[in-house]
């Protein structure tokens, strides 16, 4: 070869087009913001129907999760996500999509070893580290309230 790996890596970086951030960031903001606005709307509607804040919040999450799962099944979620990027990844809908999409793909290997085993292949780490962080936070909180006076 007529080039060192370091030079080659630099060349690759130079010749690889970056993401079109002037387009991707505003799109993520608009679509992600749209999902959050829908959430606010749902929250208000549930409260108008006479539910208290806590129940309305729960129902809002459940509705968004349901819609995300439905759109994933209809093969629409990933198409929207191609344009939305973090806008569809960050809200709760992104989490639902990450559970439903492997479940759909791995159904062909059966309900136990396929769907069941692979369902959390993407969401698993989020759950593991989310729960771990909450335990650590809980211990710190306990120590502070017990011994901190």
């Amino acid at each position: 070869m007529n080039i060192s790996n370091q030079e080659y890596g630099e060349l690759a970086k130079k010749l690889s087009p970056p993401s079109a951030m002037y387009k991707t960031i505003p799109l993520a903001f608009v679509i992600g913001g749209g999902i959050c606005t829908l959430g606010e709307l749902l929250l208000n509607v549930y409260q108008m129907l006479g539910l208290d804040m806590e129940k309305s919040g729960m129902l809002t999450s459940m509705t968004l999760i349901f819609l995300s799962a439905l759109f994933t099944g209809l093969k629409l979620y990933d198409r929207i996500a191609q344009h939305a990027g973090a806008g569809t990844l960050v809200p709760i809908t992104g989490f639902a999509n990450s559970v439903v999409s492997p479940a759909l793909d791995f159904k062909s290997e059966g309900f136990v070893l396929g769907l069941g085993a692979k369902m959390f292949v993407i969401a698993g780490p989020v759950i593991v580290y989310g729960i771990s962080a909450s335990i650590i936070y809980g211990v710190i909180y306990y120590c502070m309230t017990t011994f901190g006076g």
Partner: protein, 334 residues
């Protein structure tokens, strides 16, 4: 690096007697859609799973190639086949019903050139009367094995390539009618230290440069001696990188170069980012388009160099890089 020069094999008795390509819907909608023997509209090809669909692609493309040569499985001496799936699933399940002596190969997306040069070697040596080379890839089966589930909302980067749903089959014998396989150079594994899973073109460009350079050196040729230098699936980034490497030697290949990954889709109309990839990509472009042009004499001498990224998801997760490989096969009309 690169102390060993390797050898270029020269063949006097290897002809591609028939060839055929079968592709999926997206490839059928591409610029060369009408050139393929069959476009399968259903992503699962009438089966229950994508893996079975991919096996079906290989079965079909070899069937078409055998029909064209008026051969049947009993008259076939040997088949070299490969694909991208673990355990070469597409090949072994696709070809099992034919009962043809089978050797599975893995060279990632370079596998079609690898199979073709093995087939030419066996025929030229006189061990077999005929030998088939078949490869396939399938967007959905590859996507879920190497990347993410199909409906996962991850974003593809601009350097990412689209695995072609396609299969190509060629039958090599000694019948002495065009296209002829004249020479072949086996690629060396080139690890250029690329670690980005979404930039396979960059991982393979070094290997393409090395193999083409060695081939031309051994043959005493220059890019001008060829009608076309065809690479497998470098895509936009990989092609640009290969031009840069040649430029350092004062060699210009741009005018002679075509990349199957950049041809199989219409990148303005189809959302495929840096272009197509997969063992089926260059196999279908060769068997659907280029070999026809060689047979008709419209292309007299081509250098087909299929490129492969020997990527292991496990090694990449362990922090390893992605080695590339490329094999060259020289094909002529006379």
């Amino acid at each position: 690096m690169g102390m060993c020069e390797g050898k270029t094999f020269k063949f006097s008795n290897a002809t591609i007697t028939s060839f055929a390509a079968v592709v999926g819907k997206v490839e059928g909608e591409g610029p060369y859609g009408s050139e393929f023997d069959e476009v399968i509209e259903d992503n699962k090809g009438g089966t229950d799973t994508w893996e079975q669909a991919e096996a079906g692609l290989q079965k079909k493309s070899l069937q078409y190639a055998m029909d064209k040569a008026e051969l049947n499985p009993e008259k076939m001496d040997l088949v070299f086949a490969g694909d991208l799936l673990n355990q070469c699933t597409g090949s072994s399940y696709g070809l099992k019903d034919y009962y043809i002596p089978f050797l599975g190969l893995y060279g990632a997306c370079s596998t079609f050139a690898e199979s073709l040069l093995m087939a030419a070697s066996m025929v030229n040596a006189g061990y077999v009367e005929n030998c088939a080379a078949v490869t396939s890839s399938h967007f959905s089966s590859a996507e879920r094995q190497f990347r993410f589930p199909l409906n996962y909302g991850g974003v593809r980067t601009p350097t990412a390539q689209w695995t072609a749903t396609a299969s190509g089959a060629a039958i090599v014998d000694a019948s002495q009618k065009a296209p002829f396989i004249r020479a072949a150079t086996v690629g060396k594994i080139q690890d250029m230290g690329i670690t980005d899973l979404n930039n396979m073109g960059a991982a393979m460009a070094g290997a393409a440069y090395d193999t083409i350079t060695r081939h031309m050196k051994h043959m005493g040729t220059h890019p001008e001696n060829y009608d076309l230098i065809i690479t497998g699936d470098l895509g936009q980034v990989g092609s640009d990188m290969m031009y840069e490497l040649f430029k350092r030697d004062g060699v210009s290949v741009e005018g002679k170069h075509k990349d199957c990954g950049l041809m199989i889709y219409d990148r303005d109309r189809q959302d495929v980012h840096a272009g197509g990839s997969g063992c089926g990509c260059s196999a279908s472009m060769m068997c659907g388009y280029f070999l026809k042009k060689v047979r008709r004499g419209e292309l007299k001498r081509i250098l087909y160099t299929a490129t492969g990224a020997l990527m292991s998801p496990t090694m990449v997760q362990q922090g390893g890089s992605i080695p590339g490989i490329a094999h060259a096969v020289e094909i002529t009309s006379e």
